[in-house]
Every structure is written in C-alpha cells, then in structure tokens.
Symmetry: C2
Subunit: 451 residues, 2 copies
C-alpha cells in the first residue's frame, strides 16, 4: 500500500488547531453534548468495577499531585492517571458509545483526557465542547478510513485502541491552544503509541486499550506543547501509521469535507449494558411488561423469535457469572420481566446472576432462530398461566441508528448508573449541569461534581 | 496468517517465571553484564539531551513519589516515570545495543524497567542480572520471530517499540516473583500496548517508542501482580499479537530451545555514536593517527574507499547540525584525526559541527565508492604535506559481529559518556560497581550511584 503524500497529517492538524465552537453546526454541538452526557454516565457506572479498583490501587503509588478527579471514586490523582482510570471506568462494561459504521467507541478516550485537563485551569463549556467534538470527529474519521469500505483493513486491531489517541490528543491540544505545528506534533506522538488488538476480548485489557489511548493522547499534547518533536507526516509518511494499520485506507473518509461533514452525527448509544443483539428483545419485554401490567408470576412461558446474531452469540440459558450474563438473552429476558430494568447491577454475579427468581424464570424462556430477522429487530410472545398470549414486535431497537436514544432515555440510562454511586440528589444536579455545559465558565466543576 | 494454538504465550511465561541465575550458562551471564554495562553508559550519555529535558520537564508535574533515580539527571521520580525517562536517555543518541539479526535495541526498555523496580526493595545482583537476561532474551526472540527469515514481516514497525514491552514486563515480573499465570498476564498486557512505526525516524518519537515500551512493560507487571487480567493466548490467539505484527512468524525462533539457545549472545555494541556504516572508517582513522602520531596540520588529504552503504547514507561533506553530523563520514573523519575521539560531544552542533578546525578539515576528505566493500569494512589513505602516504584497511569494524567490542573498549565508551555527567571519580567507581554486579546485595545502589 502506498499513500500519496497529500499532507494528510497537516490537514487534520490545521483543522483541529483552528476550528472553534462557533464553527460547529447546531446538530454537531447537540450530538457532542449527548455523547459527553452518555460517557459521563458510563464513567460513573464503571467507577466501582473491580477491574478499575485493581488498576487504581496498583498504580496509585506512582501517581502525582491530586489535581484531577477520579470520577465516581471519591478521590483525586494526577491528570495522566485520571485520564487512564476514568477511561477505564467508561469502557469497562462496554456500555459506551459506538460509531454507526466504524467499530470505534469514540467518547471515552476524548472525554477522559479533556476532563482531566479541564481541572488544571478553567475552561469554558463552549471551548470544552468544541475540543471534545473535534477529538471525537477525528477519531471516528480515522477509524472509518482504516476499515470501512472502500477502505480495507484488518478486524484484528482494536479500533478504539488505535484511534483513541488521536481523539484524546486533539481534544487536549485544543484545550491547550496548540498551534498547527504543535497540534501536528501531538497527533504524531499519539499515533506513534497507537496500540491494541482484539485477542484481548473478555479480559480487562479490552478496556485498558482505550484507557491507554486516553493517557498517551493527553501526554502527546503535553509533550508537543513543551517542544517535543514528531514526524510531520505521521499518517501518510513512508512506514507511517496508515501503512501499518490499513491495507487500503480511504483518505476521503479521513480528510474529505472537514468542517462540513461530521461523523459525530453517526454516533450511537446503548440503552442496556449487554450484547447489542439482545437489545430489541429487551425492548419488547419491557414494552409487554408495561403495556399489560404483567406480574412475572403469571407468565408461563416466553417465546422469542431472534435474529441470527442473537442466536449465535447470546443463546445461553444459564449464565454462570457476569461475563456470561452479559451475553445471555435468557438472563436479560428474565431481568426485564421480573425487575422491569436492564442496568449494570442487573448482571452482578451475586445479586443478579445467582438470583433464584431470575434463574427460575430463565427456564421459561425459549429462543428460536428467525433467519430473516435484522440484528436490531425481535419478536417476543408471552403466554400467561391462564392461556392468554401477548406479542410485541420491535423493528428497530432503541439505540439503533434508525431509532436513536432520546435525551430522556439517556437520562434514564445515566441515572441508572450514577445513582448507586452519587445518590439521587447529586445525580440529578450533575445531569442538569451536564446538559447546561455550554453555560459553564469552568468545566472542571463538572468533573469535580462527579467525584 | 494463522498461528497454531501451541500455547506460545504460556511457554514463554513458564520459562520467564521459572528460570534462575543458576540456570544461565556463563557466557550468557557475561553477555548480560556487558549489555547492562553498555546501556548504563548510554543512559548517562543521553541524560542531558534536550529531548530528555523536554519530556522530563513536561511530565514531572504528573509524577509521583521520588522512589527511583533519573539516571544522570540529579533527581528522582516515581518508577514509571523513571522507566520512561531513563529509557529515553538510553536510546536518544542511537548509541545503544543491537541484536545481530533482528533490528531491535534490546537493553534499554529492559534495564530501565528493572532498575526502576530495583529501587523499590533490595534485589541481589544475581537475581537482577537473571531478570535482565530473561527480558532481553524474550525481546530478541520475539523480534526475530517477527521479521528474520524464514519469518516475513513489515520493516515499517519499530522493532524495539513493539517488542521492548515484553522484555520490560518479563524483567519486572521476574523481580516481582510473578508465578507463571501472572507472568503470562504481564506479557499479555504489555503486548496489548505494543506500538511504534518507523515514520518517526529523525524525530524525538524514535527514542520515545522504546521508552514507552519500558514504561508499559513495567506497568504490565505491576498490574498483573495486582490481579489484572489479559488473554492467556495474547501471542498466538485469533486476532492476537503475532497476527497483527507479522505476515508469517517464525515460532521456532520464539520458543525453540528456550534455556538452551540464547539470542543475547548475538547482542552487539557500537563504539561510536554515529551511523554504523561510518564505524570502520573511524577505526581506520584512529589507527592511522595513533600508529603514525599524525599531527592533523600535516595532513594534506584523506582518501576513503567506502562501502555502498556508507556512500549512500553518509556522503555529506558539510553537515549543518547534530542530526546531519550523525551521518556524515566527512565529519567523523575530521573528528577522528583532529580530536582522536568519536564521542557524543563530538557531534554537538555548537562545539563540534561548527568548530572551524573540523569544518576546514572536512574539505580535505574525499570518499569514493568501492562497490565490493562490506558494510563493516573500509580503507583510508592519508597523504601528508610532505607527500608521504599511509594506508589502513579495516576488514571488520570494532563492534561488528566478527569483531565484538572488548570490555576495555566498552569502558572507554562508558567513560566518554559518563565523565561529562558524573566526573572522573564517580564514573570509575560506577564502572567497577557495575562489573561487580553479581556481588551486590542491593542493585538499587547501582541506580542511585548513577543519579
């Protein structure tokens, strides 16, 4: 593969160093705010995960001054450690956002790097949101350029691992006010540390890959600010980033229509912390439960017509732990009918996976393959003990590209994750503060309020 | 490419977790000590480079407790920062070691991670040298397995960037006493953060890649010790390390004859801090100068028959700065005849590249292509003002595989780098302490003596 020397890195750096909040169309500002709102909730949701505890405890002897908030953990650390830990929290339940085309979860690395920096000196909500939007934009563009046709690339790479760093570096560089040359250096440094492959699936290294991108991206911006150097053609140069990470990159996806076409508008959010092919099934179960005020004790059986993806990945009646429950459609069907929810705590090994009521209900759930059903569709029929049947068909699950989550649905998701950590009152205040971001004069207050 | 699931990661982890100093043959111990001696000198040599100043200054606000020595910098920091900065120093002049076959500079990441850890709690010289030797061994094996035929891999990757982490993780894991399972986890974590490509050549990102490997490798061992998780098949698994970093890995190079065949025996050291194809020319000039007690003012001209590599890369009569001087055979010929040396300070922009005496001498140097001359060979003829001619032919330059540097030559190199930083007395004491490593009860003292 040869990439034309078309100053790709310089183009991206020029855009990142010059675009302002006032340059962003209203829908871009809105989606950036929704992305930030969602990832802040996810960060709170993951903040008490044992994997985060392990990393924070193991590394805290090596951390510096307590200038930055470890979100949801009740303590502070240096910004580089905060970027790592907060991004780890945000992605540890795979409950974060996903670009509709590129397999990248863009907000975690960008938000974690930018929030850690925003606690160093006051930054306005508008400047912060612009920095965040630019980081997400370039990260999504880069990931799309690597793998989405007409590009050809290997699925073995972790999309967020190898592109999160540019997002974090750009957002941090924007907040630091880097000029074009230093922004280009920051991008180059961050890309030179891009890493991660998918063999790590199912281990704590999966969330560590975006976390590492957050930290190295922030560090790249700090080094560039101080005068460190990089290749000015890190992306397109001989033996450069595009050569090693893609068989045939799509340069138009990377640099075409910068400032006019926005990939952040294709960002999507998950309503439930489980395998995405289970989502329409949960939608159907919750709708049936509410519409017919169903008492789970009256349910004799549940018949699910499931998509090929759901059957291949999630047809597991008796999950043994959180990892298995995450991808068991039987588990989530039981949770939806019995608890009327589908939250992080509903896959906790002790309080959910081993809950006798849920385990008993799973035996009444039967899934069958519907080969023509789309991945975001499902049909669920309940049969009551008196013989009554109710059926619900979902054509597009909540959170799919065709049926984006509303702001109200994002709030339910946020609250479900934040209330166990911050309590009801602080959660409500934090949500209001986040929606009101562009009126803040010091975004550091948002991070501190989420401590 | 498909890699057979032959438990490659587990094999390496088992070896790394169980091999002891007593298992290492005497030549392996000796070469490990020589490698450590050399890299400690290189770390001192680079410690005052402006690129190290930039990184240390930019990142020091984010560093933690001052438990570890920043070698040659007169201050201390947390071990993760120390691993980064010390490795950066060790590689910033490209004066470090090189495996004879694989393009990897193995000792920097391993020594930097291990020394930083050795200051946390006392470790004996024997245990330290074994940990260092194991790290270097697995790093060299991995790099060889990626690219040296019969393996096929891309030269675009930074060999040290993508394999330094396993070396650092194994050495640190050995010092921490990790069992096989945790060693395997440490290796997996480190590999999941492997990064670096060659487009960075000529910028400070080039030494940052091994530095990053040192830091992430050390961190991987700390995380594994604390219970973090990784894939148990990080190397050979589907979408794993070997898939992404090699078209066709050579598994025998990786795991064949573990504990019997040692790649560290093929480690080589450079006597001069310049492009390696210039080395035999410098050897010839220094030998002529000494043998005939040549006064440079009596030299009318120097005629060099140079290898194709030297002509292609280093035929630059008037270098403008340190970067250009690094690869100018005219510059180093002048330095050798006038100063009788070839040290880091002999390519300093202000005190060497712009030295009028050196610049004037360069005009008297003429290089011509000898198409059949090997890369480690050269022929130099001086003509004196009285018409006398002297010729010196070098068949194998010092430091080449056929003519390894002696311990005495390593001492000259070490002293040349260390004395400007530590002074004569401390340098001599440090060299003695390093050669005496296996009798030390606390290797932390070695690091502290190099502060």
């Amino acid at each position: 593969m040869q990439v034309a020397d078309s100053a790709v890195t310089a183009q991206l750096a020029t855009y990142a160093a010059t675009a302002k909040y006032s340059d962003l169309p209203a829908p871009v500002r809105q989606e950036a705010l929704r992305s930030l709102f969602n990832i802040l909730g996810c960060t709170l949701g993951g903040a008490r995960h044992h994997g985060v505890d392990i990393a924070d405890t193991a590394l805290s002897p090596f951390t510096g001054q307590t200038q930055a908030t470890l979100i949801g953990r009740g303590r502070r650390a240096d910004p580089l450690h905060a970027a790592l830990i907060n991004c780890l929290s945000s992605s540890i339940y795979s409950f974060d956002d996903t670009h509709e085309q590129a397999v990248v979860h863009p907000s975690g690395p960008v938000a974690s790097a930018a929030l850690a920096l925003a606690e160093q000196k006051p930054v306005s909500g508008e400047a912060f949101l612009a920095a965040f939007a630019l980081g997400v934009e370039l990260e999504c563009r880069l990931c799309k350029a690597l793998t989405v046709p007409p590009a050809k690339g290997s699925m073995a790479w972790s999309g967020t691992g190898i592109t999160g760093g540019i997002g974090a570096a750009v957002a941090a560089g924007s907040l630091l006010g880097l000029d074009m040359a230093r922004m280009r250096t920051a991008i180059g440094i961050a890309l030179s540390q891009a890493a991660g492959f998918r063999a790590m699936h199912g281990s704590l290294c999966t969330p560590l890959m975006p976390a590492q991108a957050a930290q190295t991206g922030l560090r790249a911006a700090l080094l560039a600010q101080a005068g460190f150097t990089s290749s000015p053609v890190a992306l397109e140069g001989r033996y450069g980033y595009l050569t090693v990470f893609s068989e045939q990159p799509d340069l138009d996806a990377l640099t075409g229509g910068l400032g006019e076409r926005f990939e952040i508008l294709r960002n999507t959010y998950k309503p439930y912390p489980c395998g995405i092919v289970i989502h329409p099934i949960i939608d159907a179960c919750l709708e049936l439960r509410q519409t017919h005020s169903l008492d789970p004790d009256r349910i004799a059986s549940v018949a699910i017509k499931a998509s090929p993806g759901a059957m291949a990945l999630c047809n597991n009646r008796n999950p043994k732990d959180e990892m298995q429950a995450h991808v068991s459609l039987h588990h989530w069907t039981a949770v939806a009918f019995i608890r009327g929810t589908a939250r992080i705590q509903d896959m906790d090994t002790e309080t959910a996976v081993k809950d006798p009521a849920l385990m008993a209900f799973q035996d009444r759930v039967e899934a069958t393959l519907d080969p023509n059903r789309a991945a975001d569709a499902a049909e669920v029929t309940v049969t009551l003990t008196d013989g009554t049947n109710y059926t619900c068909r979902i054509e597009h699950g909540i959170g799919s590209a065709a049926r984006p989550m509303t702001n109200a649905e994002l709030e339910v998701k946020f609250a479900g994750m934040a209330i166990p950590v911050l309590g009801e009152e602080r959660t409500q205040a934090l949500m209001r503060q986040c929606w009101d971001l562009t009126n803040l004069s010091d975004v550091g207050n948002l991070a501190r309020a989420a401590g």
